[in-house]
């Protein structure tokens, strides 16, 4: 596009840059703030903090990691993110591959039966009663199993597979390769871009999920990091006493405040996302673009 060099154009340009800069800072500053708060000396931080940490202290981090629930919750959140993503990818991609084959009997019905679930929401209580009846209450499988066939992922993968040249698969068919061989050796490698996109969606979705935990899992060993954060938000004061007494140095008690506890736990929850996010951003974008192409 040709540059507009008029005065009005220049003013408009300045305003544009200012508005975008302000909104960008608004988006990133809260994250920055909780990080500097979590690294500050808790008592000094309480008096006000803007651009730089005040003092430096890792006491609160030490405190929260001395309690068993954070490392345990970290383990649960990491396992549900990885296992949940693997299950969702394998199930959704294999099913999507099956429904791309025009030879399948009742193909349209099978596909629609799955896609319709995007819009049919039974509601909280029926969902709760059903999961409980399946024995998924206080069960780790509750986190990962329901994602096995996710309608949205099926649509994305099916659209992608249909865009691949059909000849590649047909030549394998002539070589006598069975369905599983074709799926594993031809379709999966060719679908890497969309699989990567869905892997990112699934991992982030799992990492952020907490309602299943809140409604159906009370077992202390199965709590996710999000739920622990939620609990700390509600009871940071009680936690402050617990973590202070968990530390042997009695002087440390004053180093931890309810707010510093909240900030540290939040940082533990968001740091993984912030670290991987810039590298995965292009996959997110690819996914939303493909989602725009309806199934």
């Amino acid at each position: 596009m040709k540059k507009n060099r008029s005065v009005a154009g220049k003013i408009a340009n300045v305003i544009l840059y200012i508005l975008l800069t302000v909104f960008t800072i608004m988006c990133i500053y809260p994250f920055y703030y909780i990080i500097i708060y979590s690294l500050s000396d808790a008592n000094q931080a309480a008096s006000g903090l803007f651009l730089l940490p005040k003092g430096f202290s890792l006491e609160t981090y030490k405190g929260i990691f001395l309690l068993n629930d954070i490392p345990q919750a970290l383990l649960i959140s990491v396992s549900r993110s990885i296992l949940g993503a693997v299950i969702a990818i394998l199930g959704s991609s294999f099913f999507a591959y099956l429904v791309t084959n025009p030879k399948m009997i009742g193909r349209r019905f099978v596909y629609r039966f799955v896609v319709l679930t995007m819009y049919l929401n039974a509601g909280l209580i029926p969902w709760y009663m059903t999961m409980k009846a399946y024995g998924l209450q206080n069960n780790f499988l509750l986190y990962i199993l329901p994602g096995l066939v996710t309608a949205y992922y099926v649509i994305l993968i099916k659209t992608y597979i249909e865009s691949l040249p059909r000849e590649l698969e047909e030549s394998a068919l002539i070589d006598g390769a069975g369905i599983f061989t074709r799926y594993l050796q031809i379709i999966m490698p060719l679908s890497k871009p969309i699989i990567a996109t869905i892997a990112v969606y699934a991992v982030v979705g799992q990492w952020n999920a907490w309602t299943d935990n809140y409604f159906l899992v009370s077992d202390a060993k199965l709590q996710t990091l999000q739920m622990i954060l939620y609990n700390y938000l509600n009871q940071a004061n009680r936690f402050q006493q617990m973590s202070s007494s968990a530390m042997d140095a009695s002087a440390a008690a004053s180093m931890i405040t309810p707010t510093s506890v909240k900030m540290c736990v939040t940082v533990v929850v968001v740091i993984p996302i912030m670290c991987v996010y810039p590298f995965l951003q292009r996959y997110f974008v690819k996914g939303i673009m493909m989602g725009a192409v309806k199934g």
Binding site: N4, L49, G91, P146, Y230, F284
Partner: protein, 298 residues
């Protein structure tokens, strides 16, 4: 012909476990709707419940003072969202007007980040910024101000505050689809506009915005069909006694009746009405889209 049929049956048999799985996790819960017509109480065995017809739906009507307030909040928040629905498109056009690729990339990376955190984390961030000893109030004090603010507990501005939070979280992300659509607009149209002497602003008005209209229209229809769904997470997390009057939305109310007051049948009846209305809205939007644009959206 026979081998083709055998192949077709084999494929169907392979898909069957997945279909059964989807039935078990997404369709079986629908049978729970039957309990919306019973007097089931928590602690009863499922078979002990008696059929009571539409009593639970009548009970919703008898609670209409409360239900009207819930619907007022639900619609108000959805309408505020609808009024500001062109915002992602405007944001995308703004990003597109930036000439520095580096600046563009930084803006896009940072503004999409909030979309990938949970509402629990949004709440802690909001708390860190806006609580009485949060960043904003500390800044006001440091600058010598005496008027502190408390948006988390402000009932008068609760709707706008929740809208602002949701916009903060999703604006960068929602803009991506428009940014991609802008890239898809025929460059010839811009060249022709330049030949006609159109300046940058006129090009936006006469080429970019018309080019984005189909995308905007589809997203608007989807938003309209989602009018009853404000989302549970946000309102569950930000709900507090001070703002309860404004933030109790339908998704929260279904939870409140079902889980907090243990009235399963009434909660099921509400959820059922919500899903049916939403599906009807969606399919109406779809046929509207077919009529106007000759293209379906679902």
């Amino acid at each position: 012909m026979r081998t083709k049929n055998r192949e077709g049956v084999k494929l169907l048999l392979l898909a069957l476990p997945f279909v059964l799985f989807v039935a078990a996790f997404c369709y079986v819960p629908l049978f729970g709707w039957a309990y919306g017509f019973t007097d089931y109480r928590v602690g009863m065995s499922l078979t002990e419940a008696n059929f009571v017809g539409f009593d639970n739906f009548l009970a919703i009507w008898q609670n209409r003072n409360e239900v009207f307030r819930v619907m007022r909040n639900t619609f108000a928040l959805s309408f505020i969202g609808l009024i500001f629905s062109p915002l992602p498109m405007i944001f995308a056009i703004m990003i597109n007007e930036v000439s520095s690729t580096k600046f563009k990339k930084i803006v896009q990376t940072f503004t999409t980040l909030p979309n990938f955190i949970s509402w629990i984390v949004v709440f802690t961030l909001a708390f860190a910024m806006f609580s009485s000893d949060g960043m904003v109030n500390n800044a006001i004090k440091a600058l010598g101000g005496t008027q502190t603010i408390n948006p988390l507990g402000d009932n008068d501005h609760a709707w706008m505050f929740q809208w602002a939070l949701a916009t903060w979280k999703t604006l960068g992300w929602s803009a991506i689809i428009y940014i991609a659509s802008i890239a898809g607009i025929d460059q010839e149209l811009y060249n022709a506009a330049q030949v006609d002497g159109a300046n940058r602003f006129q090009q936006i008005l006469h080429v970019t915005i018309p080019g984005l209209q189909p995308t905007f229209f589809v997203l608007l229809l989807l938003q309209i069909s989602n009018i009853l769904s404000n989302g549970f997470d946000q309102y569950f997390i930000f709900y507090n006694p001070l703002t309860a009057d404004k933030l109790e939305v339908l998704d929260y109310y279904v939870y409140k009746i079902g889980v907090l007051t243990n009235n399963y049948p009434q909660s099921i009846a509400l959820g059922m009405l919500k899903t049916i209305v939403s599906v009807v809205l969606l399919f109406s939007a779809n046929s509207l889209s077919k009529k106007i644009r000759g293209e379906s959206i679902v």
